[in-house]
């Protein structure tokens, strides 16, 4: 099942690749992505799908949350609409 994560972060050098790298390395396929930047904060909305059923998205959210540039991660069931 695809799930949606919203990641608020400080847009420091490498921050976006770091976030996306964690998603892929921890066993998820990226299904959708959008980014917004405002002043000194940015947010990524990411749709992810685990490669195997035992992976739990709340654990991925914690793994993202411990990245130094990440300020918060929230998890929402994906709505039917596509990413803007």
């Amino acid at each position: 099942m695809t799930e949606r994560l919203t990641v608020e972060f400080t847009p420091a050098e490498g921050a976006v690749i770091r976030v996306l790298g964690v998603v892929e390395r921890r066993g998820y396929v990226l299904r959708g992505l959008s980014m917004k930047e405002k002043a000194d904060t940015a947010s990524l909305v990411i749709d992810v799908e685990p490669r195997e059923a035992s992976r739990r998205v709340p654990v991925l959210a914690q793994q993202l949350a411990r990245l130094v540039d990440v300020r918060s991660v929230s998890l929402a069931a994906r709505d039917a609409g596509s990413l803007a």
Binding site: E13, G14, I17, R18, G21, R25, R56, P58, V59, Q62, Q63, A65, R66, L67, V68, D69
Partner: protein, 563 residues
């Protein structure tokens, strides 16, 4: 001095070069030793190093710089520092950085980079070390402005050692080190501690109170959180049997009566049996790693789980606990005050420990490595720090040496890096000069960083190396024997050099033994010698590490030795 300058109330400080700012930042962080190797892009920093208070240790391969810094960080709890030039210097650090990452060790790795205008042009010795190391650092920086150097270094040291520690990489373009700046003062924001979850604490206490067969399963996260004391208090207060992972060894002293030993693939049978029979698993700073758990669904299958860790991302990663408690480990442990009624269970576990205690009466007159290591550990006592390489000898150290603190056992647990032992020994000697530092290596691993004998000699580092030589890649041979139908493929090292001669050629005292009667005197000589020394021990190439849980098996399906 001109009169205008005299009249000025607060003269602007003179601008300082980036390289000087780097050195000053390291001094401000209290760094005493830097492990490194110079080259083009990092030359400005080497220029600024002369005349500083930092002692630079010139290794003979950058991998050793990173591995020595790793050990330094493990022993002191403060980031070890390594320094290399761009390109191959930086890529040579990678294994050591990954080693620190997988074992959560505080480290700051500084790499030179080509000048900013050249970055992204495939310039000479340009590699994207920032990109290469992204998956194996806790955080990383490319310094774009000279004036940012003091702040970025302060942040790097803070990040490397706070929370769950890890390596931080700082990539320094050459021009940033050459240009001058007058940095602004800065302050790092405080990091508020997360409040404890009272409901979860209450639930954990309730589970403990009703448990009939609880076990504490602890790992490297205890030492990371410097929570050894709190763990020992908890284990004593509750009288609960405990088992350790490879990285947890020493958090509870090996001679504690309720301590059952290391669990897992090469663990003690008593430890694995206790886990199999327990009804409550109190996991402290451990992470359900496959080497510890064996087949995960049969690991403590009937137990409820309380999982305590400094890192919230570990909780529920592989096993969903009944109670998860993330935060300051010592504070959490201090709040677990329930005492279960488990005298029979604890007695049963102690009896198992006694029944399955390792035997040292191996047949024959050859040297039995487990017996040698036990004798060495007893003779070296509490002041010893053991560093190891990877393979059978590493498991024998874990099984047969005694540790009363986690800093006494430096092992590459997560990455399993052959070549760790000697550089780690160098780092440990410098980090704790009063300790008796002993590196236990294998003949395969030793050759991976053999060049560091030159570093030992140069700085007269009193490292004691015990080289267990089975003229094989022993651990690989063991697996080929047991799980690949004795199809021995590329494990023969019978053309090894004469290791004593090798050490002598570096100017290091060395001697070889191959008979059991030589062990006692050899240990005495090793411990008596004040400078670096190598004891080369020839053992039977067919020796295996026992017990062993075969891959994909439950931890109670242990294979045992034949005698």
């Amino acid at each position: 001095m001109s009169s205008a300058a005299q009249a000025s109330p607060s003269p602007q400080p003179l601008p300082v070069s980036g390289a000087r700012l780097v050195v000053e930042a390291l001094e401000r962080e209290g760094v005493k030793h830097v492990f490194g190797y110079p080259g083009g892009a990092i030359m400005p920093v080497y220029d600024a190093l002369t005349g500083s208070s930092l002692q630079h240790i010139l290794v003979r391969h950058e991998q050793a710089a990173a591995l020595a810094a790793d050990a330094y960080g493990r022993v002191t709890g403060r980031p070890g520092v390594c320094l290399a030039t761009s390109g191959p210097g930086a890529t040579n650090l990678v294994t050591g950085i990954a080693n620190a990452f997988l074992d959560s060790v505080p480290m700051v790795a500084i790499t030179g980079q080509v000048g900013s205008p050249l970055m992204g042009t495939d310039a000479f010795q340009e590699v994207d070390i920032f990109g290469i190391t992204l998956p194996i650092v806790k955080h990383s920086f490319i310094i774009r402005n000279t004036a940012d150097i003091p702040r970025i270094f302060a942040e790097a040291f803070r990040i490397a050692s706070s929370g769950r520690p890890g390596p931080v990489l700082i990539d320094l373009p050459k021009d940033v080190g050459v240009l001058t700046a007058n940095p602004e003062p800065f302050e790092l924001p405080d990091e508020p501690a997360a409040p404890l979850d009272e409901a979860s604490i209450a639930l954990a206490n309730a589970l403990i109170a009703e448990a009939k067969a609880p076990v504490i399963y602890f790992g490297g996260g205890v030492a990371i959180a410097r929570a050894e004391r709190a763990l020992r208090d908890l284990a004593q207060r509750m009288g609960v049997p405990s088992v350790s992972t490879l990285k947890g060894l020493g958090c509870i002293p090996s001679d504690e009566p309720n301590y059952l030993g290391m669990l897992g693939m090469h663990g003690a049978r008593a430890a694995n049996i206790a886990i199999d029979n327990c009804d409550l698993l109190i996991c402290v700073g451990a992470r359900f790693d496959d080497r510890a758990t064996g087949k995960l669904d049969s690991f403590a299958a009937r137990a409820k789980v309380i999982h305590i860790d400094g890192d919230a991302a570990e909780i529920g990663k592989l096993r969903v606990p009944e109670v998860g408690l993330a935060g300051d480990v010592s504070s959490i442990l201090g709040r677990l005050t329930a005492v279960p009624k488990i005298a029979d269970w604890a007695q049963q576990c102690r009896a198992q420990r006694k029944m399955w205690a390792p035997r040292y009466d191996a047949p024959g007159q050859g040297i039995y490595a487990p017996a040698l290591l036990k004798e060495l550990s007893e003779a070296a006592g509490d002041k010893a720090i053991f560093t190891c390489d990877v393979g059978q000898h590493q498991m024998w150290v874990a099984q047969h040496c005694q540790f009363s603190r986690p800093q006494a056992h430096l092992t590459s647990g997560g990455l399993g890096t052959m070549g760790y032992g000697v550089p780690a020994g160098m780092g440990a000697v410098l980090a704790e000069p009063d300790a008796t530092v002993i590196t236990v290596s294998g003949d395969g691993s030793f050759m991976m960083n053999v060049q560091e004998l030159a570093t030992l000699r140069r700085y007269r580092l009193p490292l004691k190396i015990v080289l267990i030589d089975n003229s094989q890649l022993g651990m690989v041979r063991q697996w080929q024997e047991l799980f690949f139908e004795e199809n021995f493929s590329e494990i023969d090292l019978s053309d090894n050099p004469d290791f004593s001669e090798v050490a002598h050629s570096f100017g290091i005292e060395a001697f070889t033994i191959d008979h059991r009667s030589q062990v006692g005197p050899a240990i005495q000589r090793l411990l008596r010698t004040s400078g670096p020394i190598l004891l080369h021990v020839r053992i039977d190439p067919r020796e295996n590490v026992w017990p062993l849980v075969p891959p994909n098996s439950s931890n109670v399906q242990m294979m045992e030795k034949g005698w």
